[in-house]
Amino acid sequence: MKGQQDHQGYVPVSRTAAPTHRRGVAGGRLRRVSGIALYTLLSFYAFCNLYPLFWMVSNSFKNNQEIFVRNVFGLPRIWRFENYIKAWQSFNIFLYFKNSMIVATATVVITLMLSIMFAYATARMSWKLSSIARIYMSIGMFVPVQVIFIPLVLLIRDFHLSNSYLALIVPYVAFQLSFCSIVFYGFFRTLPPELEEAAAIDGANVYVTFYRIILPLVKPAIATLAIFVFLFSWNEFAIALIMISNNSLKTLPLGLLLFQGQFATDWGAMGASLALASIPTIVVYLLFGNEVEKALTVGSAVKG
């Protein structure tokens, strides 16, 4: 309340007396010297982030001679596409892509379905245990997956899921449920309570209301979390390592490791395989950049 009064009181002053103080966070005009210093700092770190990636890609077109001795830093002098052919032929990249794609897609679909339904019931239906159920579900946020390595392996074995896609999908879904439920819960709470009342007056039952009225309203959250869960399962390493021993079921991060073992001394082919493996997520990021960042920062809305 007080802040608002202050605000209103100050507006005319800032308009007349201090036009250079317009709105900018920390306002005042950037002085030339500090401007140069700030841009230098920002650019230096951007370089620290991008140059290793550039180096990786340019290595993928070089041979060892060039990488180690003759041309360590720059673009390749001769573009050796044969590295990519070698990587493509001996690194079964298509198989790993397929495996990752199947696992990630299934994980996204199942996780979103289960967590939306759960969040809906805890956010918009009144029942005695609803807040306990919500808190119970959020425990998963704080359990490192390594803590349950052994019981998880035994569990998957007892359900006869070892060496199948489900050996990955089931734990991935279970571990993403907490986070997604919390985010959807927050989202559902922002919708006006009259929605269901209106639907009930029109005679719709709870399932129809959920499917026809509520689901379309949470589409933005669905898009954001779909990307988040997709990136998680596409890149997940630890569970995949302990669950999958069959080479034909390995996902990309593990397949890549296998390839690295065989080609440890051929840095060009290694670079090519790394570059190939990075294309899908980089493309996703460049296409949906804003969504991806939002997806990974929705966490800021979480926190109990």
Partner: protein, 294 residues
């Protein structure tokens, strides 16, 4: 009316049970089983025998365990300093409206986050390579004789490995802090500037305190992220040289899947769980008790 109540109950069950059953079976039950197994002498095959705190006694006497705990804390400290420290600096600079090229910088800072951890670790393995790596070549090109065997010397190994994780995921912290700064209303600053505050003072007095909740969240994910880091060690050093980059997670993995000491592995897993819980509770207690509202 009664009929309606029953219908509601059924609906609630339909909506919640699938998630609750799956979560209980795959996350909660295994956690309890880990704690229980930590009290057993068990190799995974033969009949387990109950031994109370025997595994813990052995664990606390194991020099690898002490090293692993120390490395976990170093790892967490590197993440906190690098990710939250640098992330804050870049987020504060980029929140200034007069900085151009925001889109470019934000993309550049975020891009490693979306890469596979295998790709990033392999890339840095070749950068850190003692004979042919980019880093030592760079020092050579600059005419410096400062060459390091980054990953195989006891002094630098764990920090180098932690650095790779910090480098890859800085973007997450940067984006969290950036989004939080953006959500602070402008008139807060107008008031401060009219009172004659410099932008530095304004940030110290206004921005940072208002970010308390964001920092709480960042601290939790950075510290627990450091304690539970595993992939970086597995891919880059295999716990080596010797045992110098062991962490609790690596200890768990090795005891469980290389040595079949399930009870012992579960004891270190329980310690890891306890560590993460203690840090989470502590941070929640210490920072941002009251919710900030604008």
């Amino acid at each position: 009316m009664l009929h309606n109540k029953l219908n509601d109950r059924i609906a609630i069950a339909v909506f919640t049970l699938p998630a609750v059953v799956l979560f209980t079976t795959v996350v909660v039950y295994p956690v309890l089983k880990t704690v229980y197994t930590s009290l057993l002498d068990w190799d995974g095959l033969s009949q387990p025998s109950f031994m109370m705190f025997g595994n813990y006694m052995r664990l606390f006497g194991d020099p690898d365990f002490h090293l692993a705990v120390k490395n976990g804390l170093i790892f967490a400290a590197v993440l906190v300093i690098y990710q939250i420290g640098l992330g804050s600096v870049f987020a504060l600079i980029l929140s200034n409206r007069r900085i151009a090229g925001k889109r470019f910088f934000r993309t550049a800072y975020f891009v490693p986050v979306v890469l596979s951890i295998t790709v990033v670790c392999q890339l840095w393995l070749s950068i850190f390579n003692a004979d042919r790596g980019l880093l030592n070549n760079l020092f050579h090109a600059l005419g410096l004789t400062y060459r390091q065997s980054w990953l195989s010397s006891g002094k630098t190994a764990i920090v180098s490995v932690a650095f790779v994780n910090a480098w890859q995921y800085l973007g997450i912290h940067f984006s969290l802090i950036y989004a939080a700064i953006k959500s602070i209303p402008d008139h807060y600053y107008e008031a401060a500037l009219i009172d004659g505050a410099s932008s530095f003072t304004a940030h110290c007095k206004i921005t940072i305190p208002l970010l308390a909740e964001t920092y709480r969240f960042c601290l939790i994910i950075a510290i627990t992220g450091g304690l539970k880091a595993f992939e970086n060690m597995y891919i880059m050093t295999g716990g080596g040289p010797g045992n110098l980059t062991y962490t609790l997670t690596y200890l768990i993995y090795k005891a469980a899947f290389r040595m079949n000491q399930y009870g012992y592995a579960c004891a270190s897993a329980s310690v890891l769980l306890l560590q993460c819980l203690v840090f989470t509770v502590l941070i929640n207690r210490l920072i941002a008790h009251e919710r900030v509202t604008y």
